[in-house]
């Protein structure tokens, strides 16, 4: 499995994504600068967490306009897989690669803590190694992670089984609609999620629940 991590100015989980991919796949991902208009030949593109362009406009709005995103869209259109974590999820909604928007947390504060999630949908290249309904714990770290979409869109996401991860009962850290933590694109090759799977692949850091996501990708892409 070949992968690339996009580096926007003030991405700050780019190294974490790289390390997790190295650890899980044994291969070093290509680090792609936001001004590069061409992607290397890869199976997976990761949009990492961070504060691209300072998030001074809406989170992810500036990054969605950067040169590299045209290639990321083309990669997804061809069926290539794209994973957006945290700020990466925000970039995906701003790019209209995923529906809806990420709004300010309901408590109006940044929140960093481990959060219980349920894997809702295992029929995807990102989640096939999890059990349906499996409870996992990933950390969140965001100020604007409250997923929002109109009722029609939410119904459609649920109807098409595109809600990949949901906050477990009582664990919703940001007021997200219907406890949504992560969603799939229509073709199920793009996943955006607020919690950070790449921070839980190493025992020493207090959990390995994120490994399933990378193991799923390895299986799907090999």
């Amino acid at each position: 499995m070949k992968s690339a991590v996009i580096v926007f100015p003030a991405s700050n989980c780019d190294r974490d994504a790289k390390v997790a991919l190295e650890q899980m796949t044994g291969k070093t991902p290509a680090m792609v600068w936001h001004q590069d208009s061409e992607l290397p030949d890869v199976d997976l593109v990761v949009l990492p967490g961070g504060f691209s362009y300072g998030d001074y406009l809406r989170c992810g709005a500036m990054a969605s306009q950067s040169a590299v995103m045209r290639s990321v869209k083309a990669h997804a259109d061809k069926g290539g897989m794209v994973l957006g974590v945290c700020n990466g999820f925000q970039v995906l909604t701003e790019s209209h690669m995923l529906p809806g928007a990420l709004m300010r947390n309901a408590a109006l504060k940044f929140v960093c803590k481990p959060v219980g999630l349920e894997v809702q949908e295992t029929q995807s290249g990102f989640t096939r190694k999890y059990e349906s309904g499996q409870r996992v714990t990933f950390p969140v770290a965001h100020g604007e992670g409250s997923y929002f979409a109109d009722e029609e869109t939410l119904d459609r996401l649920e109807g098409e089984n595109r809600v990949a991860f949901r906050y477990a009962k009582g664990e919703n850290p940001n007021g997200a609609a219907r406890d949504i933590a992560g969603i799939l694109s229509e073709k199920r090759n793009v996943l955006g999620l607020m919690p950070h799977p790449e921070r839980v692949v190493d025992d020493v850091l207090g959990g390995t629940d994120g490994r399933g996501l990378f193991q799923s990708l390895i299986e799907a892409l090999s």
Partner: protein, 734 residues
């Protein structure tokens, strides 16, 4: 040329005798720009004029110290060619006036101090002191400071892994915001600020210069009064996005060999960075201000030299490397300009619009800056045994203490800080010390900040000792070998003899403890004049400290992990209640003597406990400090809801036993067989040790009689902070 009047001299915070010294050094009347430069360089904040004579007494050397005080940050050897670089600095006055930006730029400033030396920041800590919760401003200040620290640190992608928050009326008009940054570098890639050699280009990188923060250093060197909020324009505005780019660009440039010297523009901006670089390199610097990137029009030389606009660096390059450096900064979309050249004149020369605005010997700004041996007088010591009601029920007091402002959980605070970014945080906030793995290795750094200001007021010397001892103990309690200290000395007005005594005795106490514990001071910062309307703060010498763990898998945390473990107390309990949390929270008294610290005992007990952790024999350790033994046990029970049944040992009176704040104590939990061995070994080493009971169940039970549910304790412990910040009314004390 502007004629300098006595009023101008006074407005610049310079005394008559200081101005006379300037006239002597210059041999003429200074220009207005020169007066401004003297004013900031001779300010307490930049010159340490009241403390320099005393700071010299601190121990700063050890075989593992690579760089002691005097550079942007201190550097220690952590093995395998790696170096840890760290420093703590205050941003008190700006944070009181504008809490969000004051705290944010405090974080940004200390990060620059660390990455300007070639290190990637890997962890942030902070030590915060606010006024009493019932004070009308406290909530607003807590909210602003916490979101400012988070806003900057989170965007930088550096985990904020812990710190302290205290409340006390003495900070009502003068909060303390001390931020610490720890970075990691290779020992052969450390950058210093000495601008050696003549004819080398001086380059400016980062953000453009504006009019913000002019005279910030001077403000930080004066007392506050009710009109201080009018000083808001002297508070700088932070831009963490630009700082993140600056960090990456600087590290990219540092990977080349283009840099001779580099220094961040912190307090006193362009003035102090150029003067310090020239001073340390023994060279002169000539600046052409027309070349300085500016974001406002018609800025004068005076404004540019004194601006404290953030996210800027000054570097001296090897000649011919300008294009290489410029390409890197352009890639990161940052300003880059050659604004001057080093000379062999040892003078700082500032040109603007074809005029020489300043031309002064650099040593006049550094070595010749005034040093004061200010007079000091000892305040009468608080002694005696405070009285207390012996009949008060112990568990009810425990519940009240755990739900009190200084002891309640700080979760509300640290959940607003990204403490797991960089994926190396092994021990998150809430324990004795934070632990951050050295990326790609099994090694880790333990980090803590500590001081107990309520001990420092009655006894600044013992208080200084205790701050160091507690930091050392906290690092030990996770299993790290304590290596070095950065100190952030927050005091009142040094021109008052009693305050000066607090400073001198505090430094002496810190020095005594650092010497006894092999714990050198490798850098720090003094923040004086922390007074409002003549009322000084509690003396608050915050100690930031770093220790090394060779194997991160052998680490202790405070949480009880198994039922059936034996609860062991290392160290002697005499029941010292003077200045304790118990006395203050339950009896409403801030009375008595501070506890004494026996440094030999500290070392002996700490080395014993660390040995057990390093050998993988113990994984559950908590230092016994604020609130005493029962609070420590409750803090061990709450994380996983595992209770304990414990009883008294060696003392007849319950309240002093459970709540006394005797030093050099640790509480451990270990399975029975291991515990028996530990107790025997401790006795053989003449260490006071006691078995207090066993873990298990979901209650905390005392002497097989009274008990309280852990969930009950936890409810109060976890709810005080969120309730307070949600606006719950706080009864006015006193």
């Amino acid at each position: 040329m502007t004629k300098i009047t006595p009023a101008m001299v006074k407005e610049h915070g310079l005394s008559e005798s200081e101005y006379q010294k300037i006239l002597d050094l210059m041999g003429r009347e200074p220009s207005f720009v020169e007066l401004g430069i003297f004013s900031v360089m001779w300010s307490e904040h930049c010159s340490y004029k009241s403390t320099r004579a005393h700071l010299k007494k601190l121990p700063t050397k050890a075989p593992w110290v690579i760089q002691g005080p005097g550079e942007n940050a201190g550097v220690i050897d952590i093995g395998d060619g790696d170096a840890a670089i760290f420093k703590m600095e205050s941003h008190n006055h700006p944070s009181f006036i504008e809490p969000y930006q004051g705290a944010a730029t405090g974080v940004g400033g200390i990060m620059r101090d660390v990455f300007t030396m070639g290190a990637r920041p890997i962890a942030m800590m902070n030590a915060l002191r606010f006024g009493e919760p019932s004070h009308p401003k406290t909530r607003h200040l807590v909210s602003g400071v916490v979101s400012g620290i988070g806003g900057y640190g989170n965007c930088m992608g550096v985990p904020t892994v812990g710190g302290e928050v205290n409340f006390h009326p003495s900070y009502n008009g003068n909060i303390l915001v001390n931020a610490m940054c720890v970075g990691l570098a290779r020992q052969d890639k450390i950058f210093l600020s000495a601008a050696k050699g003549a004819g080398n280009p001086v380059v400016y990188v980062g953000s453009k210069t504006g009019r913000d923060g002019i005279h910030g250093a001077t403000m930080a060197s004066a007392e506050f009064d009710d009109a201080s909020e009018e000083k808001r324009p002297t508070v700088q505005v932070g831009d963490p996005f630009t700082e993140k780019l600056l960090l990456e660009a600087c590290l990219e440039l540092m990977a080349t060999d283009a840099i001779i010297a580099i220094q961040d523009m912190g307090a006193a901006g362009l003035t102090s960075s150029s003067a310090e670089m020239g001073d340390k390199g023994g060279s002169g610097i000539e600046l052409d201000l027309d070349k300085v990137p500016q974001r406002e029009t018609n800025m004068t030389a005076y404004e540019m030299m004194l601006s404290e606009s953030q996210e800027r660096m000054l570097a001296v390059l090897r000649p011919g490397r300008e294009a290489q450096a410029e390409a890197i900064f352009k890639k990161w979309e940052l300003d880059f300009a050659v604004i001057g050249i080093t000379t062999d004149t040892s003078r700082l020369v500032v040109k603007h619009k074809g005029k020489v605005e300043a031309d002064m010997p650099i040593t006049a700004l550094s070595d010749a800056a005034p040093i004061y041996e200010r007079p000091y007088t000892e305040r009468e010591a608080q002694t005696g045994e405070p009285a207390y009601d012996k009949s008060k029920p112990v568990l009810a007091s425990l519940k009240a203490i755990l739900a009190s402002p200084d002891m309640a959980s700080r979760r509300w605070v640290w959940e607003q800080y990204d403490h797991t970014v960089m994926a190396d945080t092994v021990q998150v906030p809430g324990g004795d010390a934070a632990v951050v793995r050295i990326h790609g290795t099994q090694k880790a750094l333990a980090i803590t900040t500590d001081v107990t200001p309520r001990y420092c007021r009655p006894d600044p010397f013992e208080g200084g000792k205790q701050a160091v001892a507690e930091a050392w103990r906290n690092l030990t309690a996770v299993g790290a070998l304590p290596l070095a200290v950065t100190d952030n000395l927050n005091y009142g007005n040094p021109q008052k003899p009693e305050i000066m005594w607090e400073i001198v005795a505090g430094i002496d106490g810190i020095g005594a403890a650092c010497r006894a514990l092999d714990f050198p001071v490798i850098g720090g910062n003094c923040s004086l004049y922390n007074e409002t309307n003549g009322e000084g703060i509690l003396p608050t010498p915050a100690i930031g400290a770093v220790g090394l763990m060779k194997d991160v898998t052998k680490m202790a945390t405070v949480a009880f992990k198994r039922a059936g473990d034996v609860v062991i107390l290392i160290g002697e309990t005499k029941g010292h209640l003077g200045q304790s949390i118990y006395l203050r929270e339950i009896e409403g008294q801030e009375e008595g003597a501070a506890p004494k610290v026996d440094l030999g005992t500290e070392k002996k007990h700490g080395d014993f406990v660390r040995g057990l952790i390093e050998a993988g024999r113990v994984d559950t350790v908590h230092d016994v400090s604020d609130g005493g033994l029962l609070v420590a046990i409750a803090e061990m029970a709450m994380p996983r809801g595992i209770g304990a049944s414990v009883g008294m040992a060696g003392l007849a009176e319950a309240i002093p036993f459970w709540f006394g704040e005797d030093q050099a104590r640790y509480c451990l939990a270990a399975p029975f067989a291991e515990a028996e061995k530990i107790v025997a070994e401790a006795r053989a080493a003449f260490i006071t040790v006691a078995e207090l009971g066993k873990t298990g169940g979901d209650k905390l039970t005392l002497d097989n009689k009274d008990s309280v549910a852990i969930t009950d304790l936890k409810a109060g412990f976890e709810s005080w902070f969120p309730n307070f910040m949600a606006g719950e009314e706080i009864p006015v004390t006193n």
